[in-house]
């Protein structure tokens, strides 16, 4: 590790050590490249590991355990004195993050990847200036600077929580308003609801999770509204004013403006690529009006020796997409013939129940004017779902009518996040319905639902009776 000023030369420099950057650096090192990684935070891991996917999942797990305990009475299981100590939970979460971040650091160090701390800025297309002094000259570079949270427009108080603030678990407010009904807002809203806050969600769009198919979202919304105080869609936040240790919030809905008081406000309204202030103007790199770097199939920017991966490039801002791009960029630098040609980037929402999908959605098929064959299988018809007492949910498979090729998979229900991997594999492999229906799925498991949905699409299902 190098601190402070240095002037050095390296074959490849990676800016950012998130799930895109560190994977790229490790792969490059394995391919025999001399690699340096520049990270402005104290620890490697990026948003995903330090203040995103990982800590939020640690919290969600605790909440789900507590909810399961509360709902276990009908199984004859009664817990008394159930208590969720948010300070202990915070310590647990911090421990998880520290272990994983330490693991990434060890992996980098064992491969001889040098970690330089500081903020990098391009001086020209072959060198970086490091904040606090020093320059790094490079032959090739990967930009993996990730993204930052969008803030509310100017004029609105900035002391509201960001998702990173909320993850710190410093207090459990009595009432919490979540601005933004996307996946982060919903996941964190449910965490605080589980911790005992009265949580309201306000969303500008007509419904929650606008990108997901309605049938999946409806199942989830029906469940989560039981745990939330209010879900306000089609509503606009007009003003947020701090007052007496709380916030007065003006919300406009159908032309009427109401003023509500909340102890805390969490704003989760999307992210923006970190492409400002890194000196891109000193290169030929092309950035679009949203700050996204234009890249080709090998993740190369308009400067062929500089790559951009993860949240700074086009596509969903997801860790697993960044990691895959990291590998593509690393192998491209090593001269391999590679391409980011993935057809299915799974999307997962860790609400309760979870939602996941990949490939084509029904919504998108409609937009494209594509006719698809949809096979839907309700979890209520599945043995395992009954046995665990979670029948709310469904699995659907979208296939091409002429060929039976699987184009999309959507899931809502317990463990949807785990089950979607099979769907992604099917789409990437160019699998047909028969490939799913003729693969033996273990019984009794939730995984059978995907096979059954394919049976529904193929018209060969036996576990559902359709009147002719």
């Amino acid at each position: 590790m190098v601190m402070g000023s240095l002037n050095t030369e390296v074959e490849v420099v990676v800016i950012g050590s998130g799930p895109g950057g560190y994977v790229a650096a490790l792969r490059l090192a394995d391919l025999g490249k001399e690699v340096m990684i520049v990270e402005e935070r104290e620890r490697p891991g990026g948003v995903c590991l330090l203040e995103g996917c990982i800590p939020s999942k640690a919290l969600i797990n605790a909440i789900e355990l507590s909810e399961a305990a509360k709902g276990a009475e009908r199984l004859g299981l009664t817990f008394t004195g159930l208590k969720l100590d948010h300070v202990k939970l915070r310590a647990w979460t911090d421990g998880v993050v520290a272990q994983l971040s330490g693991g990434v650091k060890t992996l980098l160090q064992k491969r001889g990847v040098e970690i330089v701390h500081g903020r990098a800025r391009f001086q020209d297309n072959h060198s970086l200036a490091i904040e606090g002094g020093g320059t790094i000259a490079f032959k090739q570079c990967i930009i993996a600077t990730g993204s930052s949270l969008n803030r509310l427009p100017a004029g609105i108080d900035q002391s509201v929580w960001s998702s990173a603030d909320a993850l710190k678990l410093e207090e459990v407010p009595g009432t919490l308003l979540v601005v933004g009904g996307g996946y982060i807002g919903l996941e964190l809203g449910l965490v605080y609801a589980g911790l005992g806050s009265r949580v309201s969600v306000v969303e500008f769009s007509p419904r929650l999770l606008m990108g997901a198919d309605l049938d999946l979202v409806e199942v989830m919304v029906k469940q989560v509204t039981k745990r939330l105080n209010a879900v306000m869609t089609d509503s606009k936040v007009k003003g947020i004013e701090p007052r007496d240790g709380g916030f007065d919030v003006e919300i406009e809905h159908e032309g009427k403006t109401e003023r509500q008081r909340y102890d805390r406000v969490l704003v989760a309204i999307g992210r923006r690529p970190n492409t400002d202030g890194i000196g891109l103007e000193h290169t030929k790199i092309v950035v679009d009006d949203k700050g996204v770097i234009e890249t080709d199939g090998e993740c190369r920017t308009a400067e062929p020796h500089i790559y951009a991966i993860g949240d700074v490039s086009h596509g969903p801002m997801l860790a697993h997409k960044a990691s895959r791009e990291g590998k593509v960029a690393a192998e491209s630098i090593a001269g391999h013939k590679v391409e980011f040609d993935n057809r299915a980037i799974p999307a997962v929402v860790f609400t309760d129940p979870e939602i996941s999908w990949c490939g084509l959605t029904e919504r998108r098929a409609e937009e494209l004017g594509v006719t698809v064959n949809v096979g839907r299988f309700p979890l209520s018809a599945l043995g395992r779902a009954r046995a665990i007492g979670h029948t709310e949910g469904l699995v659907k498979v979208l296939s091409e009518p002429e060929t039976d090729l699987i184009l999309g998979v959507g899931i809502v229900g317990p463990h949807a996040s785990e089950l979607i991997a099979e769907g992604a594999l099917a789409i990437e492999m160019g699998a047909t319905l028969a490939d799913l229906t003729e693969t033996i799925h273990p019984h009794p498991t939730l995984s059978e639902a995907l096979m059954e949905a394919a049976e529904m699409a193929a018209g060969t299902a036996v576990h559902v009776f359709k009147r002719s």
Binding site: F204, I269, H314, E339, D341
Partner: protein, 465 residues
């Protein structure tokens, strides 16, 4: 901005290996100053800069293989600056890969949190329709491993008919497509080496699979090399340049051409006496060394005129034999960097002195790596003379697509029987390897017989050739 593409380096040359860059990005280069040194299968060439200006970028590290027509350097010549940025911006977006990614169905805006302000539901800016998509704009169904294989073999998946369910393209489909004569560059890409840094194991396996699929010869086992380093220390050198060219040419020749070797001895006692006398008499004159090879070239040329089958080529695809009415004799030269075959053109109208002088000049150039490409092309017949290095007999491999090659062994004094007496004569062992598709054993016997006769009597050589 001027985008400099690797120019045509000669007939049949599609690529070269970067040996040395004379400039670095940021350097200012003047017109015609050396830009880059590239080694092709046949020679090392220094390529001058066609423009003056500032070098913006170069493509290809030392050891990388670059293709002709590929942009290898961008030079800011102060003209048309607006062209390149636009092209650069367009280039990433127009690649099919970008479309492939856009076809991924994650609705924009969703995977990130829903913005309070209206989030446009439109796909990302670079979402364009998949150019080669089939039904419903989806990409060609093929597993990631198949796609990787196609990429490595340079096969455009959208052109490959898929035999799997739903039109899925299988690895076998890709290989069958390749073997079945893919549209032009794909086949070349299959054998073309990847860059020097490419993962050896992956590349090797892929090429082997392609070779296996392409050859389909019963009993032919194409298996990966064992790990020799388990047995003892090894050193690995990439097959490049001349060595690779020789490997390709010899493999092609041995697999494609049914070789026959015909052997005979020429009694060159009189010829050697004549040659050495002339050499001594003409000492001080620029006749060169007056080598035995020049006499043999002269004699061979006479033989080829009488037996045109040995100065021909066979086109197996058009099923034609092409008889050449010109006589360009190549001779194998050991250059220290590998085998090079300089060609002496028009040997039917050149004197032995001229031929001798040309052999000496061209051999010297070849050793220095400076022999122009055109002096290695257009041969109709090749002679390989290992005599000076020793050897009583050899079976040479035809320099495909020629149909015959003459191997010369070492001239040695040997006891032979002449008119019932054992006498000591200077004997030159000769082997003619020829393509049995074009000529038969009797033709070869007559051809070599005539050659032996001409070489045994300088007067006949004078009279008949």
């Amino acid at each position: 901005m001027f985008e400099f593409k690797l120019p045509d380096l000669g007939e049949g040359i599609h690529e070269g290996e970067v040996l040395k860059w004379h400039v670095q990005p940021g350097d200012v280069v003047v017109e015609d100053a050396p830009l880059v040194e590239v080694e092709t299968d046949k020679a090392a060439v220094t390529i001058p800069s066609p423009r003056g200006g500032k070098v913006v970028s170069t493509t290809g590290e030392i050891g990388d293989v670059v293709a002709t027509g590929q942009v290898i350097a961008v030079i800011d010549d102060g003209q048309g600056a607006s062209v390149t940025p636009a092209a650069a911006a367009a280039a990433p977006a127009s690649k099919p890969a970008a479309a492939g990614r856009a076809a991924e169905e994650m609705p924009a805006g969703l995977p990130v949190e829903e913005p309070v302000k209206a989030a446009p539901a439109a796909p990302p800016a670079r979402a364009v329709t998949q150019p080669n998509s089939t039904v419903s704009g989806r990409p060609v169904p093929a597993a990631p491993a198949t796609r990787r294989l196609a990429r490595e073999l340079g096969v455009d998946l959208t052109l490959v008919p898929g035999t799997g369910p739903g039109g899925r393209v299988t690895p076998a489909d890709v290989q069958a497509f390749l073997a079945g004569g893919a549209p032009a560059p794909a086949a070349a890409a299959a054998t073309a080496p990847a860059t020097a840094t490419a993962d050896r194991a992956v590349d090797g396996t892929t090429r082997m699979a392609a070779a296996a699929a392409a050859s389909a010869i019963p009993f032919l086992d194409l298996e990966p090399m064992p790990d020799f380093s388990l047995q003892g220390p090894v050193e690995i050198e990439p097959l490049r340049s001349i060595r690779r060219k020789v490997a390709r040419k010899m493999t092609t020749s041995m697999i494609l051409v049914p070789h026959v070797a015909h052997m005979d001895d020429a009694d060159v006692t009189a010829l050697e006496e004549f040659r050495l006398r002339m050499k001594t008499q003409r000492e001080g004159e620029p006749v060169g060394k007056l080598t035995l090879l020049s006499f043999v070239i002269r004699a061979i040329t006479a033989g080829l005129r009488a037996a045109p089958a040995f100065n021909a080529s066979l086109d197996p695809f058009r099923e034609e034999i092409i008889y050449k009415k010109y006589y360009n004799i190549g001779f194998a030269a050991d250059t220290g960097k590998g085998l090079v075959v300089p060609v002496i053109r028009g040997t039917d109208v050149k004197s032995i002195r001229e031929i001798s002088r040309e052999i000496e000049e061209k051999a010297a150039l070849a050793r220095e790596g400076k022999l122009p490409l055109e002096d290695m092309q257009g041969g109709t017949f090749t002679i390989t003379n290992v005599g000076p290095l020793g050897g009583t007999a050899l079976i040479p491999t035809i320099n495909y697509p020629e149909v015959a090659i003459l191997g010369m062994g070492r001239v040695q004094e040997k006891p032979v029987v002449r008119d019932g007496q054992i006498v000591i004569r200077k004997i030159l062992p000769l082997t003619l390897a020829f393509d049995h598709r074009v000529a038969d054993g009797a033709d070869a016997a007559r051809f070599v017989g005539e050659l032996v006769r001409n070489l045994s009597d300088p007067n006949l050589l004078l009279l008949d050739t």
